[in-house]
């Protein structure tokens, strides 16, 4: 009855948000695809009529560019090692904190969550000094254990693992809070019933906790993958992509090509490949969820 009047109000209420998102997000995404088919560079930035359509030339260049290959490998390395490690750490501490016998649950939750809210750039600065080969505290602690000092960020083989350790430390609290909420939503009577049936702790975990936590798990995996594929500030602040390109990420390469060398067409192609990677990762996860 009253619906006649509502649509126009709804329209005006939704309009500002949709307009902003359309103009400052959807439009640039579409434009990014178009941009990737041009040779937009410093000259085009000065005069737009220097712009030429070059078809798939940027993409062809991309797949023969050793730097892009490097960035691709590095980013996948970071995701493949960092995401499982941080999700496992989150799950482990969520399960531990959620035990009824643990006192100070709120305290531990707050402490573990603290790195999540802190500024990544500031944290990266702190860890860069922690990792310092001479004055860094990490090497000092290791020397007490009789381990030789290492050049964490300067060693090509250790630079990326160093970034991963920091990323796990910074991020595990986020997923932990999500996991705890997921655990709390599992009805307690299921465990009580299982206990009556004589199921042990491990059986309960396998046949109650894991299946009921599956939706939370898929959500956590998707969010973590999306975040980790966008690796940027850590290498920018801590290693500048070095040593010898071993921490150069896709986003960092895009930034350098686009905003240092002003090859915007080429950078757009890089960003579009990143988009496709994240999209396919998410779609795979969603299919997995459907199968579960």
């Amino acid at each position: 009855m009253m619906r006649m009047r509502r649509p126009s109000a709804a329209f005006w209420l939704v309009l500002p948000a949709m307009l902003l998102m359309g103009v400052f997000f959807v439009l640039p995404i579409v434009a990014s695809l178009l941009l990737s088919f041009t040779d937009f560079d410093l000259y085009a930035l000065a005069r737009w009529d220097h712009l030429r359509l070059i078809g798939f030339e940027n993409y062809r260049h991309l797949f023969t560019d050793p730097l892009f290959f490097r960035a691709l490998t590095n980013t996948f390395y970071f995701v493949a090692l960092g995401a499982p490690l941080s999700i496992l750490a989150s799950l482990f501490f969520a399960l531990l904190i959620n035990q009824r016998m643990v006192c100070g649950q709120g305290f531990f939750r707050t402490v573990f969550f603290l790195p999540v809210v802190t500024t990544l750039v500031a944290v990266a600065v702190v860890w860069r000094y922690l990792y310092h080969p001479r004055s860094g505290l990490l090497n000092y602690v290791l020397s007490l254990l009789g381990i030789e000092p290492m050049d964490w960020l300067g060693d090509p083989d250790w630079a990326m693992p160093s970034l991963i350790i920091m990323a796990v430390w910074k991020n595990f609290g986020f997923n932990m809070v999500i996991f705890i909420a997921g655990l709390k939503s599992i009805p307690r009577r299921l465990y009580e019933a299982a206990e009556v049936d004589g199921a042990g702790a491990f059986d309960q975990f396998r046949s109650i906790t894991l299946p009921l936590l599956a939706p939370t798990f898929v959500f956590v995996v998707i969010v973590t993958l999306i975040g980790y594929f966008q690796l940027f500030a850590e290498p920018y602040v801590m290693t500048q992509g070095g040593p010898s390109g071993r921490t150069l990420s896709i986003a960092l390469l895009m930034f350098e090509e686009g905003f240092r060398w002003w090859n915007l067409g080429y950078a757009a192609a890089i960003s579009f490949v990143l988009f496709l990677i994240i999209l396919s990762g998410t779609l795979i996860q969603m299919c997995v969820r459907r199968l579960l």
Binding site: V117, V126, Q230
Partner: protein, 274 residues
């Protein structure tokens, strides 16, 4: 559950060690920021300053325009937060409580957009901001951040639980939708607005890549951009950099500790969804 004493002890030992490991970088950051050059040269490296000094903080403010960066960060984060509260709550209300054609389809589309990395939009967005003449301005950062899918989603989830009868009663009294939004919905959604405000403020405060692209002159730098820039020149001065890190982190940590209930509730509301 029947806790064995040994298991219980072990759980607490693991948690305490993990807590120490988590907090240690923060402790060390504060500690080093208060050390003198002589303290830093000692071996073994002291955990706490031997001769505590605030000199590095003074240098940051007096010689390196730290106050300016603090102001920039605060103004930008406040600007993004206020506009995002307003715009997202309006849209969230419409998506939760009003019927309009294509509502559910549009909402699903918005949710799907959440998987698109913002980096994929940055190059054309930069060209747009440049065309608008907003390079090196607060507006160049605030405007693209004014509305977010997450914000709309958060408000919508919260308002779903408001009974329709309440709104219908107001409508029968002759209140229009804007009036209902202003005098009924806004007061009702205070807790979720606080959640969204904390989220948005922190997100904006901590944001790095976009301000790095848009802010080209030092007097407009936000704290993270300034810190990354200082790192280039003052990498040999750990105490100074640590003091900068403390100042950058402190506001968000305080905000989180004060409002963590809202923050975590918002996070869970946005996370455990279906």
């Amino acid at each position: 559950m029947k806790p064995l004493n040994g298991g219980r002890l072990l759980a607490h030992v693991i948690l305490l060690m993990a807590a120490l490991f988590t907090l240690f970088p923060f402790f060390w950051m504060v500690s080093v920021s208060l050390m003198t050059v002589e303290d830093m040269a000692l071996f073994p490296p002291p955990l706490t300053p031997v001769h505590p000094t605030l000199k590095h903080y003074q240098v940051l403010f007096d010689e390196l325009a730290m106050g300016r960066y603090l102001l920039n960060s605060t103004l930008i984060a406040a600007g993004v937060t206020m506009s995002s509260l307003f715009i997202n709550s309006m849209a969230g209300y419409a998506f939760a409580k009003l019927h309009f054609r294509g509502r559910d389809g549009l909402f699903r589309l918005l949710l799907a957009m959440m998987v698109i990395p913002s980096q994929a939009a940055m190059l054309p967005l930069f060209l747009m901001i440049k065309q608008l003449g907003l390079i090196n301005t607060y507006a160049g950062i605030i405007i693209p951040g004014m509305s977010s899918v997450f914000g709309i989603f958060l408000i919508r989830q919260y308002l779903k639980s408001v009974p329709d009868s309440l709104l219908d009663a107001a409508r029968i009294d002759g209140a229009g939708e804007f009036r209902i939004y202003r005098s009924l919905i806004l007061p009702l959604s205070k807790p979720v607005l606080v959640s969204l405000a904390v989220f948005t403020f922190m997100g904006s405060w901590n944001d790095f890549m976009w301000p790095l692209i848009i802010l080209t002159q030092e007097d407009r730098y936000t704290l993270p951009v300034a810190l990354a820039n200082l790192m280039g020149e003052h990498v040999q001065d750990p105490q100074l950099m640590m003091a900068g890190a403390v100042l950058t982190i402190l506001p968000v940590v305080l905000l989180f500790l004060l409002l963590q209930r809202y923050y975590l509730e918002g996070l869970v509301a946005g996370g455990v969804k279906d």
